[in-house]
């Protein structure tokens, strides 16, 4: 052993195992950092000069970096010392082709095909050569062999697709890239190069999808036509029945929401009117001594229908402004909002009404046939509430200042409607005028039914019902006419 080889042996003390050492240049290869890879292979080659890979991969890195002269040196050495390595001749042929030494390449490839007919590289380089020769049939045949040699290797399949790309057979290329994707979903070329082919075919949407598939995975676009979770098509509030359903749902849900906010929850629905009654009873019954017999019953029969009216009107007066977001975002018709508010107020009054009936009964005003008149009275009041509440709600978005007048107006109306006093207490000549106020008239009807045990005046009732119904119809037309106006006003 000459001292020089001994030095080399000694210098190897503490070397990492070869697989570990090779990881370092391989890393650079994977990052396509070719000149860095070439220098790393050079370093590793110092430690493992007997390993064919350090020479051959070093040559590959140099070729990719365009440093053909260095690659030539390494491959010449490899052909001398590693003739039996399967990569030696294919890589040599590749270099020769890059250097345009076609005869040399031809010889190398012949050698490779004889020695390593089961090695994919052999056939891939052969296909490259044949393609240069313009022998398409041969090219395809060689590439097919390469694909058969090692179906787990992506390069032959990529070569197959690239062949079609170079031949500008775009749809053929698209099919071949699809095969690349199905076998090697992680190979980016399967998406990006395929997208290029799709663009050549003037199919930009497909091209875009291919690139998105690379980012999000191939399963983002199912092969079957895209089915959203549901095939429902929004009807966009076009017809009345869904609108009625929406109004009902929204009103009941609003009530549910309101109830969840308070500790006493549903209790307030009854408690609130009772507290009002206590206030009026203390003021008018006890302090002013204006109360006649059975003042609580008198007060309740007026107060409860009044509160229904008052809550419905005041609740819906600003409702269109409150629905601004929904009107602008989902194009909900504006009439929905006052209707929701007044339905909400109405539903809240129902239990109180039942209590009222019970209370009156307990007080000794027994029910009779005349109680049937409650049905038209309630109906007329409903129509009247819709007419007034929707009219107020319709005007306020145009003149927002009016919303300040609503509470004042309602208070005035309460005082002139005989909520807590009997209309017969005012002078006789004014009673006729007084009863022209529909709320006053309705309260009179309730009291006649409950307390006086008689039928109310049905003719004026019918007129009020008819008038309110007409206004409701006009409102429907009006809201429909204004359906493009409200969004404008709400945006300004």
């Amino acid at each position: 052993m000459n001292p020089h080889t001994e030095d080399i042996e000694l210098s190897r003390v503490g070397l990492p195992p070869e697989e570990k050492a090779f990881q370092w240049p391989w890393q650079a290869m994977k990052e396509h950092n070719w000149s860095e890879a070439a220098s790393r292979w050079a370093v590793v080659r110092q430690a493992y000069p007997e390993k064919a890979g350090t020479w051959l991969q070093g040559a590959v890195a140099h070729i990719e970096a365009g440093e053909l002269a260095q690659a030539d040196v390494l491959l010449t050495y490899a052909r001398k010392h590693f003739r039996s390595h399967p990569s030696t001749f294919p890589e040599s042929a590749r270099l020769a082709m890059q250097q345009h030494k076609w005869d040399t390449a031809h010889d190398f490839l012949q050698q490779a095909r004889q020695q390593f007919p089961n090695f994919a590289q052999t056939w891939m380089r052969s296909a490259e050569y044949a393609e240069h020769e313009g022998n398409l049939k041969q090219t395809t045949a060689y590439n097919e062999k390469a694909r058969q040699c090692d179906p787990a290797l992506s390069a032959p399949f990529i070569q197959y697709a690239e062949m079609a790309m170079r031949a500008e057979q775009w749809s053929e290329a698209l099919d071949r890239w699809e095969e690349v994707r199905s076998r090697f979903p992680e190979v980016p070329a399967g998406y990006f190069r395929a997208a290029e082919a799709a663009r050549h075919l003037k199919r930009p949407q497909e091209a875009r999808q291919l690139i998105l598939m690379h980012q999000y995975g191939a399963d983002i676009f199912p092969n079957t036509p895209q089915t959203p979770i549901s095939q429902l098509k929004g009807k966009k509030h076009a017809t009345l029945p869904p609108l009625v359903e929406l109004i009902w749902t929204k009103a009941t849900f609003n009530l549910r929401s309101e109830v969840h906010r308070n500790y006493l929850s549903y209790g307030w629905w009854v408690l609130e009117p009772l507290l009002h009654m206590v206030v009026y009873y203390v003021v008018f019954g006890l302090l002013l001594q204006r109360a006649g017999e059975n003042y609580p019953a008198f007060l309740l029969t007026g107060l409860i229908p009044w509160m229904w009216f008052m809550k419905a009107v005041s609740g819906s007066s600003n409702s269109i402004l409150g629905g601004q977001k929904l009107i602008l975002q989902v194009g909900l018709p504006s009439i929905v909002f006052p209707l929701v508010s007044l339905l909400q107020a109405t539903l809240k009054q129902l239990p109180v009404f039942v209590l009222l009936v019970g209370f009156v009964w307990v007080q000794g005003y027994s029910p009779g046939l005349h109680w049937w008149a409650l049905i038209p009275v309630l109906l007329v009041q409903t129509l009247l509430i819709i007419a007034i509440a929707c009219t107020v709600a319709a005007i306020i978005p145009f003149v927002r200042d009016l919303s300040y007048l609503v509470p004042t107006g309602l208070t005035f109306l309460m005082f002139v409607s005989g909520t807590f006093y009997d209309y017969r207490m005012i002078s006789a000549e004014w009673q006729g005028v007084f009863l022209l106020n529909p709320v006053a008239f309705l309260l009179k009807c309730y009291r006649e039914i409950f307390l006086d045990g008689m039928l109310p005046d049905l003719l004026p009732l019918a007129w009020w019902g008819f008038g309110s119904a007409m206004i409701c119809l006009l409102l429907l037309v009006g809201y429909n006419r204004l359906r493009y106006i409200y969004p404008r006003i709400l945006m300004g």
């Binding site: 949407q205 895209q226 009807k235 929204k250 849900f253 969004p487």
Partner: protein, 233 residues
Amino acid sequence: MKPIISLQNVGVRYKRQGNVFRPANYFDALKSINLDIYPGETLGILGRNGAGKSTLLRVISGIIQPDKGKFLNRGASVSLLVLQAGFDPNLNGRDNAILSGMLQGYSRQEVEAQLNEILDYSELGEFFFEPVRTYSTGMLSRLGFSITTITSPDVLLVDEVLSVGDKHFKEKAERTMIAKIQSQQTVVLVSHSHQQIARLCDRAVLIDEGVSFATGDPHEMLSLYEQRLEMSA
């Protein structure tokens, strides 16, 4: 192919409400918009803040009518993708889902039939039955997005592709959105992310100061847009 929605020289003028001290004045949000939307395409709308993009979406969705020009919808249902439409913090997730779905034009029965899918998609579990005021922001947007997955109008308007929830849900939502946008559905997409327009759209239209001044390939429109931004900068 015939466009399903056409806008010709469309203009929209707002009235700015006045008061005792200041008279009302007018503001042209859109001056002249020319635009065709073809079935199945994804159209991107590019424009800086205040260029009139939101107003344009309102015209396309049929919520407002233009003051001048022609707007033509050949029978397509159009809706804006709205997250958390009409949410009430005191209601639970389920009730909000029903309400929100109904507000977007479905019957209660239709929405109720989809509730399990909404629940699964949202990954809210038992929280679905708790008031949404107890939700974290992420949970809220998860619920909001899940409800929109059931909607499928002919033309979907998307104002900014949504990024919602935590990382995992964000990816899931993004996948769903992209699948939806790339499907046969017609989509109009407004986004500040140029990359997103380039990635997702077939065509793009440039809007500036209420005028649509160019329509075409998204990549070309993007470079044009950038030139214009530089010019005015």
